[in-house]
């Protein structure tokens, strides 16, 4: 059985005029034990909305339309936010946000913020027990527990703060960790250190599988086992990392690979190609393929016919003409 399943998930935002804007449409995937699943896509394509959906946390104006999310076979949909906070977040699913600084209260020490995580989920744990657990966990993942725990967030470097956020969000050994652009705010050297730590935690069994969201494809190539490419609220191609990076089939995936940069011999002449135009307005009904307006390979019928996910080899592609 898959550890985490998303089944035909549709999510929408409701505007103050009562309009429904579909932000995520028909997303399905499953995570196996120990797998890292990457999601790539440009800003505004619905990656972060999908993250909220995967946690079962629906705060207006976000509402679920249909579909199901299951952690180890148990559905986490249709629960109250309070129920989600105590029973799902932290234990089943945990999130690593992008901006570590926004996630840590500036007036409290790291150990107090971390203690909150345990206290709010487990009743009647003594201060001493919490202290010991924090010490043990921070040491396990290679941090200097005595100094870090007693610091205020402002006194730590950006990389250290992100490491603290990661350790706090995984304190209760969640089954699935969702990392939403965990290193975009860091420089390359710190990024490498943080990613190394995350994989060390995965190897030590602190959490069992991960969804990794980033728009940085070279990074995704090294962290993910499988990659899904998202465009305008839909998955347009899902396959193994090798397939997506080196042999993309769907036109949008191809274009995304063309916009990538790499510093190596003979690459200077090969200019990165930008994708012209903008994604469709999801507030209006869309006829035909969502990428048709920007697609270099679009045919007249692409503007009329809706494209569905189909299986090509052992990957999923949303394009009738991809081979």
């Amino acid at each position: 059985m898959s550890i985490f399943e998303v089944d035909d998930l549709h999510l929408h935002y409701r505007t103050r005029f009562g309009e429904k804007i579909p932000a995520v449409s028909g997303v399905s995937f499953a995570l196996e034990q120990g797998e890292v699943f990457g999601i790539a896509g440009e800003s505004g394509c619905g990656k972060s909305t999908l993250v909220n959906g995967c946690m079962g946390l629906f705060i207006p104006p976000l509402y679920p339309t249909s579909g199901d999310v299951r952690v180890a076979g148990e559905s986490i949909m249709n629960r109250t936010p309070a129920d989600v906070r105590t029973n799902v977040l932290g234990r089943k699913v945990s999130m690593i946000p992008q901006g570590a600084f926004n996630s840590l209260s500036p007036t409290r020490k790291i150990k107090d913020i971390a203690a909150d995580m345990i206290e709010s989920h487990e009743k009647g744990v003594s201060k001493k027990a919490i202290h010991d657990r924090l010490q043990q966990r921070f040491r396990l993942i290679g941090m200097d527990a005595d100094t870090v725990l007693n610091e205020y967030p402002v006194r730590l470097t950006a990389g250290m703060r992100q490491r603290c956020v990661i350790s706090i969000s995984t304190l209760l050994n969640p089954q699935v960790v969702i990392a939403d652009e965990p290193t975009s705010a860091l420089d390359v050297t710190t990024q490498k250190a943080v990613i190394t730590m995350v994989f060390d935690m995965l190897d030590k069994g602190i959490f069992s599988s991960m969804i990794f969201i980033t728009h940085e494809l070279p990074l995704l190539r090294h962290v993910a086992d499988r990659i899904a490419v998202m465009y305008a609220g839909e998955f347009v191609e899902v396959g193994t990392t090798e397939q997506i990076i080196f042999d993309p089939r769907q036109p949008y995936t191809k274009a995304l690979m063309g916009a990538m940069l790499s510093a190596e011999a003979g690459q200077k002449q090969k200019k990165p190609v930008a994708i012209e135009g903008a994604p469709p307005n999801l507030a209006k009904p869309i006829v035909g393929c969502r990428f048709a307006g920007r697609c270099p390979e679009a045919r007249p019928e692409c503007h009329r016919n809706k494209q569905d996910i189909r299986i090509v080899g052992n990957r999923q592609v949303r394009c009738d003409y991809a081979v």
Binding site: G41, E42, S43, G44, T157, A158, G159, S184, L186, D187, V188, T189, T190, Q191, K192, I195, T196, F199, D203, H215, E216, L217, P218, L219, R221, H222, V223, I245, F246, A255, L256, A259, M260, L261, S262, A263, E264, A265, Q267, K268, K271, P272, V273, A274, I275
Partner: protein, 261 residues
């Protein structure tokens, strides 16, 4: 004779913050020159002094010792300096005021010029600048900064540059907030700016791959010093300094192994 003078000339520039025991040397005896119409990239990890150097170039900070010359002179009059040297920053949302429309703020940018053009000419120049960054003027009509996406706002910052038409552009991580497609777009516009306005560009980034694409010369910085400089091919393919090697190894590249398990 004027054209032969280097745009920027740094001689043993040192910049120290704080004093006594707490003194931090942000820039440590740095010397370099940047020629007219050159694209130079400053590359280094967080806290290596890239942005401090950018502030010195903009005349926002002054070196504690050594000299920093712009076209052979010290920077004294900031307003006059900013007519010729303009920045583009990482986060466009913190550069624009939330409470005013974008168009009115673009109009305000004429304030830095010596002579404000007539009202009609101002509107025409704003329209031209918007078209130059591929945004149709009606798209932003009456809109406030928070109504646009990050990529669009970053282009607004560039539109501002098309309006002011400076001689030198200091681009401080202009693409670190945006995704790969938008990044390729912004790089295109930067190159267009350089060609149209014959600009000198100082590009500040921690992404050596990006720097490799755009620049004529690379400066690798580490702890306030320029540890290596040279042509991009020279620096990225045959790095001499250990910090350059480290920096290159840390960049995830699709064709090379990277860490991990």
């Amino acid at each position: 004779m004027r054209s032969e003078v280097d745009v920027f000339d740094a001689q043993d520039v040192t910049c120290i913050f704080g004093h006594g025991k707490k003194a931090v040397t942000a820039i440590d005896r740095v010397s370099f020159t940047i020629a007219d119409q050159e694209i130079v990239s400053l590359v280094g990890g967080s806290g290596c002094g890239k942005s401090v150097l950018a502030k010195i170039m903009l005349g926002l900070l002054h070196p504690n010792s050594g000299r920093f010359l712009y076209k052979g002179n010290d920077i004294t009059d900031q307003r006059r300096h900013w007519r010729e040297v303009q920045p583009v920053f990482q986060d466009p949302f913190s550069c624009f005021n939330q409470f005013f429309t974008i168009r009115s703020q673009l109009r305000d940018s004429f304030g830095i010029l010596e002579q404000k053009p007539s009202k009609q000419e101002m509107e025409e120049r704003i329209d031209q600048a918007l078209l130059a960054v591929n945004i149709k003027p009606p798209e932003i009509e009456g809109k406030y900064p928070f109504e646009l996406s990050g990529g669009q706002m970053q282009r607004m910052l560039l539109a501002r540059i098309f309006i002011i038409r400076p001689k030198i552009l200091i681009a401080d991580e202009p693409t670190s907030m945006v995704d790969a497609c938008v990044r390729a777009n912004i790089l295109d516009y930067l190159m267009k700016l350089k060609q149209e306005l014959k600009m000198t560009i100082v590009f500040i980034t921690h992404d050596i791959g990006l720097a490799y694409y755009v620049s004529d010369r690379l400066f690798i910085m580490h702890q306030g010093r320029i540890v290596e400089q040279g042509a991009p091919d020279e620096v990225t393919l045959r790095p001499q300094n250990v910090h350059t090697v480290q920096l290159l190894a840390d960049i995830p590249d699709i064709h090379k192994p990277w860490i991990l398990r």
